[in-house]
Amino acid sequence: METPLSDDQRMIRDSVAGYLRDRYDDAERRRIIDSEAGWSAPHWQAFAGELGLLGAGFAEAAGGLGGGAAEHALILEEFGSALVVEPYLSTAVIAGGFLKASTAAAAPQLIADAIAGTAIFAYAAGEPNARSNPAHVETRAECRGANYVIDGQKAVVLGAVGATHLIVVARTSGGDRDPEGISLFVVDANSPGITRRDYRTISGGPASDITFTGVTVPASALLVPEGTALPLIERVVDEATALLCAEANGVMRRLHGDTLAYTSQREQFGKPLASFQVLQHRMVDMLVAMEHSQSITARAIELLDADPAERARAVSAAKVYVGKSLRYIGQQAIQLHGGMGMTDELAVGFFFKRAIEIERQFGSVEYHLTRYTRLANAPAAIAA
């Protein structure tokens, strides 16, 4: 089912889809992830220049296109359907979200550089001793005069290998899971004291574990006033989560489409696989899950500007539903591809692995179901 778009939105979607079809096909993606860097600077420059995508979410006054989450969603759904590995989410959505809300003097210039494609961001938030609770921050930033000194470890930071800057969540006061005392810093990715162990995610994109040892940054690196970052983090991570769901919809579209195409051409017992009723019904269930994922994602994106509790509820609901759909559609896609689904010779395995990743990013089904349950059943939510 098509979703109605404005003319501007249709133009964005069509230009992204066209670019990816022509210049970012499965073979090109393999070349990118098999390269040493694991991402492509030329494509990034094309996103910035030729396609002008990197300003999609910034105000026109700041040099952007004046769009918002809806435009990010269109772009990320297409990126999902091509498994684009470049760090759009961490740069345009996450760093973009923080920078737009930032009180830092450097923010306008960083926005301009992000739009130009010269500033690339990774989001260094997750830690080896934390799970998905955004208030669980053990990395410490200690104020020393005009500077802060950051010490700690960040785990599974996506896209750090090509980033010029890291957005670092660090604790300036309080206990490990204290909602107060959390701060956000923008840090030069090559600062002394930063060491990375780079690796790949299972779907092939670049990721790193990062250790901060006495990394010294000026107080101007604080994106918002010291110790007050959690509400902003929750908003931006909610936004990123909803947009990750949009990316997921692109991934599922390919998983379903590839499965339908494969089972239609592949014969067994003298008939196309797709002529077996059991497989047909399963592909229908995949389709239904996909349509509903689209809908609940659109709903979450519409509610991003609602009050924090409603926003969080809508985003967690979407992530739960999309997470379950990714799991079902991904696993069935492999099952219905049979032996061929087990090889990395077809694209389907990479989409399946990306589905596994998205299922976990920013919190699993279990995490978001717990969060939704808590929010939905706050005493006010039930009329007796």
Binding site: E2, A274, M283, V284, I296, L369
Partner: protein
């Protein structure tokens, strides 16, 4: 895209429901576990709606419709579901009327549409036959011309409210040549027609809602035929599209809220009430999320319709598939919340005229009967298996 103030509209609907649907009637409707309310209650409600000009929101204005757009219709339906208004006359309003409008003669329109709108003409459906089911094309009830009439012989089954209805719409076989679909004709008949008789079918919930009807040389005037002879299949297909076009999330969400309320009054094992059990809350939340997804898709469909786009028949099948599953799940959660009182047969307290109190708390009366009745929603109107086949063929081009 539109200048309608939907919030104001919603308030208007709520005001109407608050004043025109009193608590006493609502309480009566709580005893109705079937698909449709008993006519005593249902006809009253249809008259009430009709008096307000809201008797047929989905009809074109020229026939008495409201002129609402799809979003307004959705709001209206959601509010009615939330207020738990009686379900009535769906077979006339949503099934017979559209085909009369599309295929009927002027005389047929003039006679049937006003009567359906006011609730005076109460229709039941004669499609399935013993031995057919989802395979409608295999039907065998025959109609042979004799003078100005058809002489009809055979039997129909699963006829909800045949014992209450004054009219029936029928698919009959007028030819055995060509494909099975080609010899079918669509007729309307008064239930008082000599030769039509009704046998009750008691359902697993213990209620009499379904019937088998028999046709023994029943004379039905040719003037009561809708569309051409042997073209009834097209009429039926058009009708079934309407049947499948509903909204499922509101009623599922209504039952989920009911389950929460029951849980808040039932004892828990290790906590004051069942609602205090985190596991019950989590299970409820998980189902609620599925309903949000369903509602969001229904909203997308409504928006598309309001914008003049037809999202296609396939969407109707997909919504029925997941929507009926959610209705069943919500209803099951109400039963689960009841605990041991789910074992009690409550049928004696489940009639408008009953003055027997329920066994256990008042809220224990309806959930099990409702749950048992709702097993049918994945069977009737094209079973879930048939809906899967439809989507596979239509949306994915699978043969």
């Amino acid at each position: 895209m539109t200048s309608i103030d939907y919030n104001a509209f919603r308030d208007e609907v709520r005001d109407f429901l608050a004043t025109s649907y009193p608590a006493s009637k609502r309480e009566l409707n709580q005893r109705q576990a079937g698909m449709f309310a008993e006519p005593e209650l249902g006809q009253w409600w249809q008259r009430t709606l009709h008096a307000r000009g809201w008797g047929a929101p989905s009809w074109p204005v020229e026939y008495g419709g409201t002129g609402w757009d799809a979003v307004q219709k959705h709001i209206f339906m959601s509010e009615c579901t939330a207020a738990n208004t009686p379900s009535f006359a769906v077979q006339g309003l949503a099934m017979v009327a559209p085909v009369v409008m599309k295929f009927g003669t002027q005389a047929q329109k003039d006679f049937f549409l006003p009567g359906i709108l006011s609730g005076e003409l109460y229709f039941c459906q004669g499609f399935s036959e013993p031995g057919s089911g989802s395979d409608l094309a295999s039907l065998r009830t025959s109609a042979v011309r004799e003078g100005d009439d058809y002489l009809v012989n055979g039997s129909k089954i699963w006829t909800t409210h045949a014992h209450f209805a004054n009219w029936i719409f029928l698919l009959v076989r007028t030819s055995t040549e060509g494909k099975p679909q080609q010899g079918i004709t669509f007729l309307l008949a008064p239930m008082s027609t000599p030769g039509i008789s009704v046998r009750p079918i008691i359902s697993i919930s213990g209620e009499h809602e379904l019937n088998q009807t028999f046709y023994d040389n029943a004379r039905i005037p040719i003037a009561n035929r809708i569309g051409d002879e042997n073209k009834g299949w097209d009429v039926a297909k058009y009708l079934l599209e309407f049947e499948r076009g509903g909204a499922y999330a509101p009623s599922a969400q209504g039952m989920l809220e009911a389950a929460k309320k029951i849980a808040a009054q039932q004892p828990g094992d290790d906590c004051a009430t069942l609602w205090d059990d985190p596991q019950f809350q989590r299970k409820t939340a998980e189902l609620e999320i599925d309903m949000l997804a369903q509602a969001a898709t229904e909203h997308r469909v409504m928006t598309a319709l309001a914008g003049g786009n037809n999202p296609g028949d396939i969407v109707a099948s997909m919504l029925k598939l997941s929507g009926t599953a959610l209705q069943q799940a919500a209803s099951e959660l109400c039963v689960e919340a009841l605990g041991d009182y789910a074992l009690a047969d409550q049928r004696q307290s489940l009639h408008l005229s009953s003055n027997i109190p329920p066994i256990g708390p008042d809220y224990a009366a309806r959930p099990v009967a409702k749950f048992l009745n709702l097993r049918a929603c994945t069977i009737y109107g094209g079973s879930s298996e048939v809906q899967h086949n439809i989507v596979a063929r239509a949306a994915m081009g699978l043969k």
